[in-house]
Symmetry: D2
Subunit: 131 residues, 4 copies
């Protein structure tokens, strides 16, 4: 069995689990680039103690390289848990993350998201970097 | 030895390791609140393969509760490492994170940041929530 | 507010949240040392979708140094969650971790554990390293 | 681009990056099962500030289910970094992890490992659970 068998993909406009990457299509080498990732951009995903998005990881695969780099990991840790019971807690973290990165070459961002009951999902976005 | 002996604090305007929390001073219960955290707001911290900010964790301590909740964790994973050697890689992640949260009660955000060679640092910010 | 105000300590024989560190009292510089950490060594902690130990982090503070190093982080990710509902899932991860490390100097391990509803807890253990 | 394009697989006896899973082939439902994961079982992987295994994640895919569950994540955080420079620090974490889990059904463990310069690698192992 492979990771490829575990990670699901779909159209994010129709499937609420798919991570969406918002990043510019072009950037200059070495300048700061803002990359936002989220799950549920079109259709909100539940955020309860029993069912929630736990994390999103962001990778970058350079066009000129063989290997992927992990860029950032966002853990969404609070989902209403509390000593009074499930969904009675004071804080909920939404499945949204934002990173600031510097790139030297063109490549593709790949995001991986994890729902605690619906498993792994992915999305990607290319970025062209002017060297 | 205690965690308290390991975590350092200082004025973020003078010390580049201190995590700064940007969040509104007031919010309404259940509405989405944006919380930004960063290290090096006034004085930039190095971002090299050998020396960088690895992560920031964000906690929330409700005024009416005894225990702290982890809200989010941000891992800054890329620091120029590559097969060509240190600081020759295609991507650097800056020590910046942004979370979107919903709160039900007033409390205090506490951020903890980790520099891979200068250890643990902290900062905090209170938020008043209208129930 | 400080991290020190958030992290609780107690006798692990009486309080089920306290992380316990099992490591040798002595080691030789550069040899592999096994370090085990767990929560609930004497009194088991619940492991349910609503209440569980989420993670343990392990730090090392060298006697001759000012700063602490993160050694390892263990995330306990599965707690019976499933599409059939809470506590009906196929897998539960117990709050146990084991790391293998090499040390060059004497110091103290500090473990930090997080219960999703009872917050942060700590424990520590010194190790003498023959250089 | 897909996660499947980023994760590499190979024979762990010949390729030092492949995570190896040591777990029993059979277990009883609800009993504690020990699962060990490591990189470099046959051929050691470097462990330096510039080149090291950063983490291993462990997933479980039940035979009777569609989705994968994250079981545990192991972060190997220390690789000789220090204020004196790269590879002069007091602690190195080896790419080894051990989890204790309870399973209710048969399935397959899948491990994913990340080298900071050689990217993502995977391995898997099935386990039969007597219900
Ligand atoms: Fe879901
Ligand atoms: Fe620093
Ligand atoms: Fe607890
Ligand atoms: Fe490698």
């Amino acid at each position: 069995m492979k990771i490829a068998d575990l990670v699901q993909s779909a159209d994010w406009k129709a499937e609420k689990h798919v991570p969406v990457i918002d990043a510019p299509a072009q950037a200059k080498a070495g300048e700061k680039v803002t990359v936002e990732v989220c799950v549920g951009k079109e259709i909100a995903h539940p955020n309860t103690t029993e069912h929630h998005i736990r994390w999103i990881k962001l990778y970058f695969k350079p066009d000129n390289g063989k290997f992927a780099y992990e860029v950032a990991a966002f853990e969404f840790a609070a989902h209403g848990e509390s000593v009074e019971g499930a969904n009675k807690g004071p804080v909920y973290t939404e499945p949204f993350g934002k990173a600031v990165v510097k790139l030297n070459v063109s490549g593709t961002f790949v995001a991986e998201a994890y729902c605690n009951i619906h498993g792994l999902w992915e999305g990607s976005k290319a970025i062209s970097v002017e060297e």
